[in-house]
């Protein structure tokens, strides 16, 4: 049995820099018994064709909520309260649900984390794959099935002709994730959102899936928004990164530069927590404390309770996201000091 090797981490020089997704000042609010909470607070970032931007953050930072807001899949207690989400020029947030549905598929595809719950257990995989074609291209069931087989072959599922009539539970986890990816890219969307696509998978399967995503991206020049908490994954797969904390973007920039020289204390703290370079028996440098509760977001900088560089101004003035280098931004009053720390 042969094994493929693939080069990872090489900069992608063939992409054209076409702006596909422009998120500007997105605010998502939650209605709760304790009042209205901001789960996503004025988040802005951009995705370009042929490139991957990673939304990096820990649980509760709002990255999944951002993805759902872009895709229009928010839970009923959540609402987009402000901001724009421009996909190829059209503001998705301002559309009615009916208008928005036209975009899902041909323009925007989304891959979820858990393929088992994202697929309907009572329909065959072929039916679900063909659904996009039946809705948007109005193909017959038969023609849609042909397209489904083609799709399955494209994403590397072996023996697609016989497996097209199988049910989701008859596939393994990695295969199911391929099916989800196939569904997302069926109509060659300009933008693909991948929400923790490999968190539930084993590491060798993860390598396969990320290779597949990379190939698809090269093939179609789609923009990819990768949502994850895995720093190593970001380092290898993404071109740019937006680091999120407690609903805000605290730093953006090209991945290599941000990881080599972070401008925000939280990014630095995350990088220090990774066990990769610490000797055995030594303590890892963990970030003390935990993220603030959504209803307890302090006035001023949202990271103040855990930041080693905190000063009085951090407790009163919330730092805006400002440019801090070529193609980089950071939201910190003292990012310059971090370089010397």
């Amino acid at each position: 049995m042969s094994t493929i090797t693939q080069t990872v981490g090489a900069p992608d020089v063939r992409a054209e820099d076409q702006l596909v997704l422009d998120v500007n000042g997105l605010v998502v609010e939650l209605r709760t018994p304790k009042g209205t909470l901001r789960a996503v607070d004025r988040v802005s970032f951009q995705a370009f064709s042929g490139r991957t931007i990673a939304l990096l953050g820990e649980s509760g930072c709002g990255k999944s909520m951002t993805a759902k807001a872009i895709a229009g899949l928010l839970d009923p207690i959540a609402d987009v309260a402000a901001g724009q989400v421009r996909l190829n020029g059209t503001d998705l947030a301002a559309l009615t649900p009916k208008e928005r549905r036209k975009f899902a598929g041909p323009e925007l595809g989304i891959v979820f984390q858990d393929a088992l719950t994202a697929l309907n257990p009572v329909y065959t995989v072929g039916t679900q794959l063909g659904e996009a074609f039946r809705i948007h291209h109005r193909l017959s069931a038969k023609a849609a099935k042909v397209k489904a087989v083609e799709l399955m072959r494209r994403v590397g599922i072996p023996e697609p002709e016989s497996r097209v009539d199988s049910y989701p539970h008859q596939f393994s986890g990695g295969m199911r994730q391929r099916v989800l990816i196939a569904m997302a890219v069926a109509l060659n969307p300009r933008l693909l959102i991948a929400d923790e696509p490999t968190t539930a998978l084993d590491v060798t399967v993860q390598a396969q899936i990320m290779a597949l995503l990379r190939d698809l991206r090269t093939e179609t020049h789609m923009a990819v928004v990768l949502i994850t908490h895995d720093l190593a994954l970001v380092a290898e797969e993404a071109d740019t990164v937006a680091v999120m904390y407690a609903g805000k973007v605290v730093e953006t920039g090209p991945v290599r530069e941000v990881f080599a020289e972070p401008h925000h204390p939280y990014t630095r703290g995350l990088l220090d927590s990774v066990p990769a370079n610490i000797g055995r028996g030594e303590d890892l440098k963990s970030i003390a404390g935990s993220p603030p509760e959504l209803h307890n977001i302090p006035v001023g900088c949202v990271y103040q309770s855990r930041c080693p560089l905190v000063q009085d101004i951090c407790r009163t003035v919330s730092p805006p996201l400002e440019p801090s280098g070529a193609g980089r931004t950071v939201a910190c009053h003292f990012s310059k000091e971090l370089e010397n720390a």
Binding site: M1, G9, G173, G269, L270, S273, P275
Partner: protein, 344 residues
């Protein structure tokens, strides 16, 4: 954590085999979960157990915790085989090994308070802390030991964060003062910053209490950080075992090399791209494992002999404790590892 092994290991597993009978499955009815596993753990040391889903590590953990009975082979704690004991003696032996589970949500009963959860083991082992005062005191001690406030003992699990819940699980595992703790992916469900805190806690506890760990994880960087020795599992067999440095820096078994390669690396300094091995296919079902070497269906070095003959454990020349099972193990010179094969 001692570098050298004591002559009599604390926990010794020999030729452990466990099969499950699955009714009505296609083909064979026997699920071979563990196939002649050999392992040992010394006092106060950490053995890392690495493998993907379906490799049998959960079954191994459950067997070590005496939740499953092996079909053949032996497990010896301090020289005694607990599976041969009668129920009362067995109960006493259960104190020696405890477990920390992966999912901090599911492993704690949401309807009990944290204090009740941690003190539950004492209800079955009443002789440990016979008086209520003794139990109360020990409870506070345990809470403080794992970094929780003793005053929070009356709260229910929902009121704690994921990392704190895992600390409750660790406190519960310590309640019976075990010699060995099996940790099944203890930090996988936690955020990165919390993960670091919990790993530091585990390290501190080991240094303070001298307890041995069997640390099961799929995250190689974590295993590298915590483990003295490592065992790599594939489809019910241990394919490679040795000290952490040996196995990670000079892997002999192709699967180990593939695992290392597949793990994304946080290469902060480098601009150089690297070659990654992408294994074809997926792990075969344990209901119908491949003949001969179980890894041959995905191995790029497979030859005819791999299908007919199961490989014997071989000792590495550089380190006699580094054992792997492969007909064609990867060779490493002092400076260069063997170049990885391209698609043939």
């Amino acid at each position: 954590m001692p570098e050298t092994l004591l002559p009599e290991p604390l926990l010794e597993v020999r030729q452990l085999t466990k099969n499950f009978h699955v009714p009505g499955a296609k083909g064979n009815n026997t699920l071979c979960a563990l196939d002649k596993i050999d392992l040992h753990v010394g006092r106060g040391e950490t053995l890392g157990l690495v493998g993907e889903s379906g490799c049998g590590k959960s079954t191994l953990a459950r067997t070590l915790l005496m939740l499953e009975t092996p079909d053949s082979g032996s497990v010896r704690f301090d020289g005694v085989d607990p599976f041969g004991l009668k129920s009362r003696d067995l109960l006493a032996w259960r104190r020696r090994v405890q477990m920390v589970f992966q999912d901090p949500f599911a492993s704690l009963n949401a309807r009990m308070t944290a204090g009740e959860i941690v003190s539950e083991p004492w209800a079955t082992h009443r002789d440990l802390y016979p008086t209520k005062a003794a139990r109360q005191a020990r409870l506070s001690e345990l809470f403080t030991l794992v970094g929780l406030r003793p005053g929070d003992a009356g709260k229910s699990p929902q009121e704690f964060s994921g990392g704190q819940r895992q600390r409750i699980g660790i406190a519960r595992a310590l309640a019976l003062n075990p010699d060995v703790i099996v940790l099944d992916e203890p930090v996988s469900a936690l955020d990165l910053s919390v993960q670091a805190q919990v790993l530091n806690l585990l390290n501190e506890l080991q240094q303070r209490l001298g307890v041995a760990y069997i640390f099961i994880s799929h995250d190689l960087s974590v295993v590298r950080h915590v483990a003295d020795r490592v065992a790599v599992m594939y489809l019910g067999r241990i394919v490679e075992t040795g000290s952490t440095e040996e196995v990670f820096d000079r892997p002999r078994h192709p699967y180990t090399a593939a695992l290392m390669s597949a793990s994304p690396q946080l290469d902060v300094s480098g601009l150089a791209p690297r070659e990654r091995i992408i294994l074809q296919g997926e792990m075969p079902s344990p209901l119908d494992p491949p003949s001969g070497c179980r890894f041959r269906t995905r191995c790029w070095k497979a030859q005819d002999i791999c299908a007919t003959q199961a490989p014997e454990p071989r000792v590495s020349l550089t380190d006699p404790r580094h054992i792997s099972e492969c007909h064609f193990p990867l060779e490493h010179t002092d400076t260069e590892p063997e170049p990885l094969a391209h698609a043939s």
